[in-house]
């Protein structure tokens, strides 16, 4: 009907597109890529070959994921207790490490080390990530603030964060504050960078639509800009959390009387390799646990906003 009509008409049949949309959401990209014509929701049945990879249930996934750790544990046991290739000072057998853990737990020291480390990380991460979110939002949204502050922030980012340690010790002292502050510095930059660049790249058409319908300032931020940056911001937060653990160990290695990093140095000085390994395992577990928690929040947020 339209002589000058150049766009190709899109189909507007009620059923199929919705089903395709939902199916695509459930199976992420894979479905679309492998079968662009799949209109029905039952794509899993039509492609049985693909199903196992997509539809791995959590238990099976866990089982597959544990194969390598279990094998490593067996190898560890093999080279220490069974074949005795390494001396207990070099590499104590798994049982020794476990017993070291039980011993520390019974003395109450283990809980103390873990809780103080966890506390430092969470506090430092909260401060650093909070500041990163705030400053990243400010610079991402306001051109003036960006021109004014970005060169400075960039210069600070260029400093390897551990270089601040001597200064922190000098200014803030050896107490809790300097450790928390160092961790906060570590967590700050990944969060800042992700928020800042994500906000700069929010679809300008959506922002304009928001403005056209009377949104501006903080309401525009909450309605359009922040929801649009949820996915990149969460990857920034998870990076920031990993950095926080990194800087925790750095801070505790340098100067601490308790914490998992302190356990590392103390064990090294006393030749307690079993405890040293224990500290490493615990750091891995705590790091993974906090990251998983953030991952759960992220998934909730993505369902809501992405």
């Amino acid at each position: 009907m339209s002589p000058l009509h150049t766009q190709s008409p899109s189909h507007d049949t009620p059923g199929s597109n919705v089903a395709a949309g939902i199916a695509a959401e459930a199976n992420a990209e894979q479905n679309r890529v492998s079968d662009p014509h799949s209109g029905d929701a039952g794509s899993a049945q039509t492609k049985p070959a693909k199903a196992p990879r997509e539809g791995l249930n959590p238990l099976a996934k866990f089982a597959v994921g544990s194969v390598v750790p279990v094998a490593l544990l067996a190898l560890w046991w093999l080279v220490t207790e069974s074949l005795e290739i390494f001396s207990p000072i070099q590499l104590p057998p798994p049982m020794d490490v476990y017993e070291a853990g039980v011993g520390l737990f019974e003395s109450g020291l283990l809980a103390e080390h873990m809780s103080i480390s966890l506390q430092r990380v969470l506090l430092g991460f909260a401060i650093g990530a909070g500041a990163g979110l705030a400053l990243g939002s400010l610079l991402g949204l306001s051109k003036i603030a960006d021109h004014l502050l970005h060169p400075t922030v960039g210069a600070f980012r260029a400093v390897p964060s551990l270089a601040w340690v001597p200064l922190l010790l000098l200014w803030v002292g050896i107490g809790e504050d300097s450790k928390v502050l160092l961790i906060a510095i570590g967590a700050f930059f990944p969060v800042f960078t992700s928020v800042h660049s994500a906000l700069r790249h929010v679809d300008p058409q959506l922002v304009e639509a928001g403005r056209a319908f009377g949104f501006h300032g903080i309401r525009l931020l909450g309605t359009v800009q922040l929801p649009a940056v949820v996915p990149p911001v969460f990857s920034g937060l998870r990076l920031g959390l990993a950095q926080a653990w990194l800087f925790l160990v750095a801070a505790e290695l340098l100067a601490a009387a308790e914490g998992l990093g302190f356990l590392l140095t103390e064990s090294q000085n006393n030749g307690r390799t079993d405890r040293l390994l224990l500290a490493i395992v615990l750091l891995a577990l705590l790091g993974k646990l906090t990251d998983a928690l953030l991952g759960v929040i992220e998934r909730k947020a993505l369902v809501r906003w992405a």
Binding site: P3, T6, D12
Partner: protein
Amino acid sequence: MGSSAPTLDRDAAVFAEHSAPVAPSPLPAPTASPPSLTVDLVHVGRTFGERTVLRDVTLQIRPGEVIAVLGSSGCGKSTLLRQVGGLDTGHEGEILIGGEPVRRYDERTAVGFQEPRLLPWRSIRKNVALGLPRSLSKLEGRERVDELLQLVGLSDRAHLRPREISGGMAQRASLARALARRPGVLLLDEPFGALDALTRLKMQDLLLDVHAQTGTTVLLVTHDVDEALQLADRILLLGPAEPAQEPGGAPEGATISRLLTVPGRRPRARSSAEVTALREDLLSGLGVEAHSR
């Protein structure tokens, strides 16, 4: 350049398809809606850097009038619309809405963009609600959104996200969002461009319904001569300033190359002789040869 759709008996063909989105409950009492507004363009122009896109557009639009803007791709139709909606500052000349100069993101206007521009993380319902004026209470807002969703035939899809619906549905949602404001001037940028032919006809009728009930002034950008002839009181053809000049000498930028009044009341029969003559006139204005049979 044959057009096939007009040969359809549109009322029968279109509304037999799926449940027609004609509102069983008409739009709420017109007392609630602000009066439709005049738009006055006085020597309006727009230049981007070195490049003049629009020049010397002068037009008075009466309240409640439907003006279609036609023109070839890239000639500045969207640009003109954006000036009127206050989405873009930096125009030359004067733009008055209801007698007052246009304001930045003017709240007396509402825009249906060329792309749906729905927020992907919000349901259709919440996207439509985005267009509500802030003065509205929650309850009133909900009622208005319900009505609009019904009007555009999306009530049963209201809970879905934009990517879960088709392009045509997204365009309808976008139109509903613009209507939620009850604007004095409705600015539509090829709102039906992405729709299939049937939905397109249905939406044209829908727009006429809305217009009959709210009486709002409409500025409608379109590529489609038939759409313009069907919907508009007047058709504005944007084009080069002086049609028959050598390429080197013509001043840059588009202006009103023709302004036609479409005869007859809406809804119009599509094949009247008068309209056919106008169509050929418009097509030749757009540089398309009209083939006589």
